[in-house]
């Protein structure tokens, strides 16, 4: 009897190659496929265990999504129909020309195989790509059995385990992606056509420019514009406060006012007078206590992007690209995860041991296994698909490009920090009552740096020591006086802040946030400026005239309409994301979600058409300002 034939399909060629290498143990035949230079078939033998036993395997891949959703031909031209009809126009799935050879390869290979094992990334997109692969495999062999491998990195043992513990494809997750794809296509196309057709003729600057709309892009732009306007409109105000200083044991202790500062000078003056009238201050609290700075939580994608753009001077898209490549090469785990707790089953010490060869943190890793190891803190998130981002094995810095090196170092230092002891210190705090007012002073001594030694991104340093004070003692402060200051405008939005806002408001997923940010730069809705210089330099987002005009126009369109939130706000998109979760949980069907969301956006679309002049006015207003200046 000839061995069972199995077809394996991964999401990208690099994963197919890595998995084939691990499963075959190295003896693998590589066969190029006709019509695509990237995708290869890898042929080898592997024992999948019961019930499959020893099998003849062909491992291949796709290149991301195999199919694309498209309108029927008669709706594709920009002038072919009213943009509004795109909410209902028929759509169908098609294989794009450059993917046809890949689809054909799968269909042909399936013909000879009894089973199809899907090795796409374990997330929503991966699940959907899995259903696309299944569809084409079934065209070749309707009776083919379909299974899926569950894995989150390409380390050998992990891959071998995954191959012997196959599960089912999750159609609910695939349906959520299908729903989102349809909504994005219809809503995006309808609004983009409307905007482009209506606004292009208004000014030279927009001629031939696509003014795109995306349900994530626009709220992302909204955050940038909102902050920009807050900076622009800001009015500085003066404030006053009371500063108390006391010299004891040759130490000048500065006491801070509990009220910080107030915006009424006369009131502060009276309060200070009452302090001085009281003459003596009374010590109401003396706190001496051990304190600690907690080691960081295990690393999620959002955190990687936020921390990365803060400390590595890379934008989120570059970070994700580097992380993706580190994962594909097998150096780190899957970079798209919401999980900030390690599974109990994972052998952390083994992972730490892999870092011993490193010149910079190898010694530190050794120290962890010599007794410094602590079980990582567990956060509150678990996507039940992937572990937190962590290094899989050590890689020589020379084997990586500059971006990869920075990201690998960050991921590794963060991982080692997670497995370390908190930093320990000693804090003292003194509170005094002076007149009717309360003041306090704080001192900190760092005793053990622990995780801070490897996690160079966190700062925690000793401050001034406090002299001795006793509870209940009275003393006359050396000095008490009024200080003044002025409120300052907030800063323009930085990338970590923007990602934080997107995350908190449900705009995009950890996987797509970086793309949305890149998109609004591409469309010239925002530009990136550098604020400050040297170590303190930060990149900030500033909207262009077009970005401001679009947001203002949309806000005006819905102003006074109680049930229609502006498209520049996150509300509608957030609702859509939560519907996606409903599909995944089986609480709603794809069909119902698509209809409900389309109805909501359609309503906004109708308002937009009716009040399009408000949008035009905003464009005229800002484009003429540019012309004039």
């Amino acid at each position: 009897m000839s061995p069972t034939k199995i077809l394996c399909v991964a999401e990208k060629p690099a994963i197919a190659k890595a998995v084939a290498q691990h499963l075959s143990g190295g003896s693998v035949r590589t066969i190029p496929i006709r019509g695509n230079p990237y995708v290869k078939n890898y042929v080898f033998d592997f024992n999948f265990g019961a019930p499959w036993g020893n099998c003849a395997v062909t491992m291949t891949s796709v290149l991301g999504h195999l199919t694309k959703l498209e309108f029927e031909k008669q709706y594709r031209g920009w002038q072919s129909c009213l943009p509004e009809s795109l909410f209902e126009a028929p759509v169908f799935e098609l294989v794009e020309d450059d993917k046809k050879a890949i689809a054909k390869n799968i269909q042909e290979q399936a013909r000879y195989c009894q089973a199809l094992f899907i090795w796409t990334d374990c997330d929503r997109e991966g699940e959907h790509i899995g259903t696309e692969i299944r569809k084409h495999a079934k065209k070749g062999n309707a009776r083919i059995v379909v299974k899926r491998a569950k894995f989150s990195n390409t380390e050998r043992a992990h891959i071998l385990n995954a191959a012997r513990a196959l599960i089912e494809l999750d159609d609910l997750q695939a349906n959520a992606v299908a729903a989102r794809t349809e909504l994005d296509l219809r809503i995006g196309a309808a609004f983009t056509r409307l905007l482009s057709i209506q606004l292009q003729p208004l000014t030279e600057a927009l001629a031939n420019k696509v003014i795109s709309y995306g349900s994530c892009q626009f709220p992302t732009l909204g955050f940038v514009v909102d902050r920009y306007l807050r900076v622009k409109n800001f009015k500085p105000e003066k404030f006053w406060g009371i500063k108390v200083m006391h010299t004891r044991e040759d130490i000048k202790v500065n006491f801070l006012w509990k009220r910080v500062h107030l915006f009424d000078r006369a009131v502060v003056t009276v309060m200070l007078e009452r302090c001085l009238m009281a003459k003596n201050a009374k010590v109401t609290k003396v706190n001496q206590k051990p304190t600690s700075k907690w080691r960081p939580l295990p690393l999620t994608t959002v955190d990687l992007q936020m921390m990365g753009s803060r400390y590595l001077r890379m934008d989120s898209q570059a970070i994700m690209k580097a992380a993706e490549s580190l994962y594909t090469k097998g150096f780190t785990s899957y970079p798209r995860t919401e999980t900030d707790q390690f599974d109990k089953g994972i052998d952390l010490k083994k992972l730490i041991e892999k870092q011993f060869p490193d010149n910079n943190w190898g010694q530190y890793a050794r120290g962890l296994l010599d007794g410094g190891f602590r079980t990582p803190r567990a956060g509150r998130h678990n996507d039940h698909a992937h572990p937190p981002i962590h290094p899989i094995c050590w890689v020589a810095p020379t084997a990586l490009n500059a971006d990869e090196k920075k990201v690998y170092e960050f991921i590794t230092r963060r991982f080692l920090a997670c497995c370390s002891e908190d930093a320990k210190g000693h804090s003292s705090e003194v509170e005094i009552e002076y007149g009717d007012e309360l003041f306090h002073a704080k001192g900190l001594t760092v005793l053990e740096r622990n995780y801070l030694d490897v996690y160079v991104y966190d700062k925690w340093e000793s401050s001034q020591q406090l002299p001795n004070f006793r509870v209940g003692e009275l003393f006359e402060p050396t000095e008490a006086k009024i200080f003044d200051g002025q409120t300052t405008a907030p800063n323009y939005l930085t990338e970590p802040e923007l990602i934080g806002l997107m995350d908190a408001n449900g705009i995009g997923t950890d996987a797509t946030m970086a793309e949305h940010i890149a998109k609004i730069k591409d469309r010239e809705y925002v530009v990136v400026h550098t604020r400050g210089s040297g170590r303190n330099a930060a990149k900030v987002f500033i909207p262009t005239w077009l970005g401001i005009a679009l947001v203002e126009g949309y806000d005006n369109i819905v102003s006074g309409l109680p049930d229609s939130p502006s498209l520049s706000k996150p509300f509608l998109r957030k609702e859509m994301e939560s519907r996606m979760r409903d599909i995944c949980a089986g609480a709603m069907t794809r069909h119902d979600v698509v209809h409900e969301s389309l109805d909501k956006y359609h309503e906004v679309f109708i308002h937009t058409v009716r009040r399009i002049n408000m949008l035009k006015d905003a464009i005229r207003k800002y484009s003429s300002q540019i012309g004039a200046s």
Binding site: F234, V260, F263, A266, V267, T269, M277, P490, D503, P570
Partner: protein, 244 residues
């Protein structure tokens, strides 16, 4: 009849420290004439309720000087004095001096747009079923360092108080007094001051010397609310001109 009015006067004085004006009381009794069978305690309740909604300048007597603010209360040359009271007063204005005017304007505008801020999250407050966690005046980025997180207004608050004779005084919430907050305290709300310190013309409010009776004067309150944003903007404008 005379005894009812005397009894009511005594009750309102001893129970709420409100020296009611005979003219107002007569008008009140006339309006409740048809319910002559109403027991005194219920009548006192009704009178009390009406007093809280009244203007003290109409409803209280100005005969007893101990229940009035001194006419020179604003005098900034007096370092400290104590008023024994009890002095019933009504609130004409309330202001949060722990928060910048501009961040108060921003907070009002967020409410106008039907939004509220929950940490970094922006939430819709209109037409949303779950209205949990709607915070007012919670702006952590423009209130300056150390400003408290969310919830009512930060304080301390500065009030303008008025007594039965119409004398006005500035009062400062020296220690946090429950019920004094933007939003929850209405204009025309009534307080009774007892054994209160006045420093440089400012009444210093602490929980020990203030009894909050509540209430409001509807017309005043409405006008105050409608005009609040514009008043904040006007003051910011003045400030800007002052700096030039």
């Amino acid at each position: 009849m005379a005894s009812t009015s005397a009894q009511l006067t005594t009750h309102l004085q001893t129970k709420y420290s409100l020296p009611v004006s005979p003219t107002w009381l007569n008008a009140f009794l006339a309006s409740t004439q048809q319910h002559r069978t109403v027991p005194l305690s219920a009548l006192t309740q009704t009178a009390h309720f009406r007093l809280l909604a009244s203007d003290f300048r109409d409803s209280l007597t100005t005969e007893t000087s101990s229940s009035l603010l001194p006419a020179d209360i604003f005098d900034p040359t007096v370092q400290e004095r104590r008023l024994q009271g009890p002095i019933p007063v009504q609130v004409l204005d309330i202001d949060d001096i722990g928060t910048s005017l501009w961040s108060q304007v921003e907070a009002i505008e967020r409410v106008e747009r039907g939004e509220a801020v929950r940490g970094r999250e922006i939430v819709r407050t209109v037409n949303v079923d779950d209205s949990e966690g709607v915070t007012r005046g919670a702006s952590t980025t423009t209130t300056n360092a150390g400003a408290h997180e969310s919830g009512g207004s930060n304080g301390p608050h500065r009030l303008i108080l008025q007594d039965a004779r119409g004398t006005r005084a500035v009062a400062i919430e020296l220690k946090s007094v429950g019920g004094i907050a933007l939003g929850s305290m209405a204009i025309g709300a009534k307080l009774v001051l007892r054994d209160v310190t006045v420093a440089r013309g400012m009444v210093l409010l602490t929980p020990e010397c203030v009894t909050l009776l509540g209430g409001k004067v509807e017309a005043l309150d409405l006008a105050w609310r409608e005009g609040r944003k514009q008043r904040l903007l006007d003051r910011l404008g003045e400030m800007e001109r002052g700096q030039e």
